[in-house]
Structure formats: structure tokens, C-alpha cells
């Protein structure tokens, strides 16, 4: 049930009305029921995995806190991490691991032929497993207290606006919110609706329209020339942002309508002037998670290695961040490419600082910004093309099979589509920039005249109705 579907609209309307009709003391119960229905709507058995994860971590959280001496604390914490990671590895990576084991044996002329296991990836598992890992970490580090109300803890992990694709919300930010009763309040409902509308615009007008062209090219790289691939790469960069930030806006909007404030995942990523800067602006709840729970502990552990300790920690962090997206060498390599960029930036900081003092600021910033976005787009080739060979072929084509002829690009974009994509993208990037500067879409819109606000609503609603592409496309991040 995706957010931009009729089923979801009906589902949410019912939940919304009931939520404000029942006693606020029971709201968490309704959220659990609604979330269970939402999860079971795709594959009913998915709920079982989630229930096991909830019960297990509810117990470990309390036990880590209670345990004495510290050695026992550590044992329970380690056990919880091992179990949580094993669950994720089993559902997400088992066949990838088996495939590679088989391959390794075959290179030694041994035949392992371990058969693949048929497993479905449970809805949202990459997101909720990360949330329970950090939950146990925070209790182990004595930064947070464990949650003792099982219902509240379950609602934290199940909360349907964020179950499928995040944001990866920290327990310390979510749990206090579920403890306060929610009354119907226009100050929540209106900003929520605005965000949902805005997210819908990004998804159906921009992302899904671009998807038609990028799917053509990236599903059959061999049949396209370098220029087509280059344009498709640029378009895919915009598509991914429109798709995932559109999803996130809708998730935040839905949560807000129910009285919750979730963490935004984006802060003008295309204004970044380095890849390190980029990762503070792109998929923020994932990048801050890997910073706090992988990078910082590893770099602390290896601080004796000085700067090589940092590079080592960066490598582990980005490889895991890459692999988090899926079980394939492409995603791992995507992580390696980002390790290389961030390590380069870290090791050449002094040298680059000297350059920045010589070159006029505006020029230096513009060049850095262009290089950052271009490099990110380049890494997305490995993110989007399914096979490693396919990704390499795409890159070879950009360099060695390049023709400036515009005929036969084969992107399937009509002039009308091109205009909608360009205008839509400009509106999206401008508005997101203002939104972040002002501290929120509702604050930005409240500062405008009533006429402007209504014009904006009409523009968005009519664009969605007239130019929206409906029906076929799931959100990209649903597969992770």
C-alpha cells in the first residue's frame, strides 16, 4: 500500500478520524492496530518477524540496563547486536553470501552448489533493525533509559508512516512523543497536509515522469550511446531526490497529522560543496546513524592509528552504508567510491584550504559544488544499474561511445515532458531551499500572503492531477 494510492487514502482517512475520536490514552493502541494492518496488507507473515524483533529488544533493553557488573552488560548487549544483525543478514544477504561462497568454491574447481534459499524481504526490516541496534547501543552507553511500556515500544518500531522507508528515528526522539496524548490541532494537521501535498508533487509529477526515461536507458545500457547515458545519469540524480525526499515529506506529513514530529532526511543536498558535506545533507537519518554507531566507535577504537584510523573507520562505515541498500557488489562499490572521496577530502584538507584562499570564493564554491554533485551522480550509476558489468559498460560508453547528435537519444522524452521536468525540478529545488532556510514548509507558507498560499495549493493540486504519473511506480527506497 503506497502513500500515493487510493487504498492508502481510505486507510489513512479511517485511522485519522478514529485517532481523534477515541480517548487519547488509547491512541498508541490504535497506532499498533493500524500499523499491523498496514504491514499485513502486503504479506501477512511479515508481522511475525517484526513481533519477534520487538519482544526480543524490549527484553534486552531492560536487561542491559539492569545487568551488573559491566561485563554482563556487555555480554547482553553483544548478544542483542548479534541477533539483530543476524536477522537482517538472513533476510537480506543470505542468497548473496551463498552465491559468493559457491563462486569462491568454483574458482578452486570445487563444486559447492549450495542451493539458494527462497526468502522474501520483510517490509521495512532494514529500517527497524537499525532502530533497535541504536536503541540497545544507547542503553549500553548509558545515554538513554530502556522503555518499560511494551505498547509504546512496539508503536515506536511499528509506526506506519515510517515503517517502510524511514526516517530511521531514534528512540530518544520518538518515545517521549508517544507518551503525550494528542488532541486534534490545526497547527499539526495543516502543516501535515502541506507536506503530504508537496511530497506527492515531487513523487508523481517529477520522479515518476523521469522514471520512464531512466528505466529505458538503465535497463538496457548496451543499446544507448554515451550522451543518452550521461543525460539519464543526471536525470536519475534528480529522480532519486524527488522520489526519496517526496516519500520523506509524505511520511513526515502523515506523522505530523497524527501529532508526531519525525526527523527530515534532506537539507539541500545539491548545495553541498564536498562529499563529506553532501552526507550531512542526504539521507540524514541514515548517515547520522552510521556516524554515531559505526564510524565513531571504530574511529575511537583505532585512534592510535592517527589519520589512518579515520580512513579505516570511513571505509567500514561507507561499505556498510552501501551494503545497507542491498545485497550486491554494486552497492558495496558505491560505498567504496564514497569512502575514496571522503578520505581524499580528509587527507587533503590543508592543501585544499590553500587553494580556497587563492581562488575567489564564489568561483571556488561553484566549482566544488559542481564537482560534488557530478561525483555523486557518477556513483549513482553503480546504485542504479543492476549488474557490475552493466555499470562499467555505462561508464565506458560515456567516454568512448559518445556522440553529440541529439537525434536517436532514445530517452522517450517529448518536448512537453522535458518542459514539465525542467520546470518541476526548478520549482522543487527552489522551494526546498526556502523551506530549509525558513525552518519548515508551513513557516515558509505562513509568511506569504493568503493569495500566494492559495495559488501555491492550486498550482500543486492541478499539477498533480494533470501532470501526475499514477499507478505503476513504487518508491525507490521501498526495496531497501
Amino acid at each position: 500500500m503506497i502513500f500515493n494510492s487510493v487504498e492508502f487514502f481510505l486507510f489513512f482517512s479511517v485511522v485519522f478520524v478514529l485517532y481523534y475520536l477515541i480517548s487519547p490514552k488509547l491512541q498508541w493502541g490504535l497506532l499498533i492496530l493500524a500499523s499491523s494492518f498496514f504491514i499485513m496488507y502486503s504479506v501477512p507473515s511479515f508481522i511475525l518477524v517484526l513481533l519477534v524483533v520487538i519482544l526480543f529488544n524490549y527484553v534486552t533493553g531492560i536487561q542491559i540496563d539492569k545487568a551488573k557488573p559491566d561485563a554482563l552488560k556487555k555480554q547482553i548487549f553483544t548478544l542483542s547486536s548479534v541477533v539483530n544483525i543476524s536477522i537482517l543478514v538472513f533476510y537480506k544477504y543470505i542468497n548473496f553470501l551463498l552465491e559468493n561462497v559457491n563462486y569462491l568454491f568454483s574458482t578452486f574447481n570445487a563444486d559447492a552448489s549450495i542451493p539458494m534459499i527462497s526468502v522474501l524481504l520483510p517490509l521495512g526490516i532494514s529500517f527497524y533493525i537499525f532502530q533497535v541496534i541504536s536503541y540497545n547501543y544507547d542503553i549500553y552507553w548509558e545515554i538513554e533509559q530502556p522503555e518499560r511500556h511494551l505498547g509504546h515500544f512496539a508503536a515506536y518500531l511499528m509506526f506506519f508512516p515510517k515503517i517502510v522507508s524511514g526516517p530511521i528515528e531514534r528512540a530518544s526522539r520518538f518515545l517521549p512523543q508517544i507518551k503525550s496524548p494528542k488532541k486534534f490541532d490545526y497547527q499539526n494537521v495543516v502543516p501535515g497536509l502541506q507536506l503530504i501535498l508537496w511530497g506527492l508533487f515531487k513523487k508523481v509529477v517529477i520522479a515518476d515522469r523521469i522514471a520512464t526515461s531512466t528505466d529505458l536507458v538503465f535497463n538496457d545500457v548496451g543499446n544507448y550511446q554515451g550522451l543518452s547515458i550521461l543525460i539519464a545519469t543526471g536525470l536519475y540524480t534528480i529522480q532519486l531526490y524527488a522520489d526519496f525526499s517526496g516519500y520523506t515529506d509524505m511520511a513526515l506529513g502523515l506523522a505530523r497529522m497524527l501529532g508526531f514530529k519525525l526527523t527530515d532526511n534532506f537539507n539541500r543536498p545539491f548545495s553541498a560543496t564536498s562529499i563529506s558535506d553532501f552526507w550531512r545533507r542526504w539521507h540524514i537519518t541514515l548517515s547520522s546513524w552510521v556516524t554515531d554507531y559505526i564510524y565513531t566507535p571504530v574511529s575511537a577504537e583505532k585512534r592510535g592509528w592517527n589519520k589512518w584510523g579515520i580512513v579505516y573507520a570511513l571505509f567500514l562505515t561507507f561499505v556498510i552504508l552501501g551494503a545497507w541498500h542491498g545485497a550486491s557488489w554494486n552497492f558495496i562499490f558505491y560505498g567504496v567510491l564514497h569512502t575514496m572521496a571522503v578520505s581524499y577530502e580528509f587527507l587533503t584538507k590543508k592543501y585544499r584550504k590553500r587553494w580556497s584562499e587563492v581562488v575567489p570564493t564564489k568561483i571556488y564554491t561553484s566549482i566544488s559544488n559542481f564537482l560534488t554533485v557530478a561525483y555523486f551522480g557518477f556513483t549513482l550509476i553503480f546504485f542504479r544499474v543492476v549488474s557490475f558489468d552493466g555499470a562499467l559498460l555505462a561508464i565506458r560508453k560515456v567516454f568512448f561511445d559518445f556522440s553529440l547528435s541529439l537525434s536517436g537519444l532514445g530517452l522517450g522524452i517529448s518536448l512537453k515532458n522535458a518542459i514539465i521536468i525542467v520546470l518541476g525540478t526548478i520549482i522543487m529545488l527552489k522551494l526546498d531551499k526556502w523551506k530549509m532556510k525558513k525552518g519548515g514548509l508551513n513557516i515558509l507558507l505562513a509568511a506569504q500572503s493568503g493569495l500566494f498560499r492559495w495559488l501555491f495549493y492550486y498550482l500543486i493540486v492541478f499539477s498533480v492531477m494533470i501532470f501526475g504519473v499514477f499507478g505503476t511506480n513504487n518508491f525507490i527506497y521501498f526495496q531497501f
Binding site: I143, T296, P297, N306, K307, A313, F346, K350
Partner: protein, 80 residues
């Protein structure tokens, strides 16, 4: 060594490691307030502190540091 002396020494150390003479620390200062004190430089600073004050921090202690006040308290506790 009292907290104020530790703070003074830390200020000199931060200026040296971050190569930034405008750093001015108070007990409430956090990483967000200091230019260049990011996650990439954080562990360099921590290991410089350990060398200078001849102390050793546990991972748990490092993870709990929220501001300069926490850093001073931790050093103070280790030296006591």
C-alpha cells in the same frame, strides 16, 4: 588541576589541532559551535587530549561526551 585550568589548556590544544586561532571554548561549547570540529577531527582531538593530559578514555566515556564541560569533567575525574 581545576576545571578552569583544564579549560584553558583545552583551548590551546583545540587551536593547535584545528589550526584555528579564533577558537574560544566555554563549558557549554559543543561541536556545532566550533568551525572544523567535525566527526572527522573529533578523534584526533580526543587522542591529543589523552596524550597531553596522560589519561586514557574508555569508548563508553567518549560516547557520552556532549560538550566541553563534559570533556573537562572527564579529564578532571581521570586526574583525581
Amino acid at each position: 588541576m581545576d576545571i578552569n585550568e583544564i579549560l584553558k589548556e583545552l583551548n590551546i590544544l583545540y587551536r593547535r589541532v584545528l589550526e584555528n586561532d579564533s577558537v574560544s571554548l566555554s563549558l557549554e561549547t559543543t561541536a556545532n559551535d566550533v568551525d572544523g570540529w567535525d566527526s572527522l577531527n573529533h578523534m584526533r582531538i580526543i587522542s591529543e587530549i589523552e596524550k597531553q593530559f596522560d589519561v586514557k578514555f574508555a569508548l563508553k566515556e567518549i560516547m557520552r561526551l556532549k560538550n566541553i564541560g563534559d570533556v573537562c569533567d572527564l579529564i578532571h575525574k581521570k586526574l583525581a
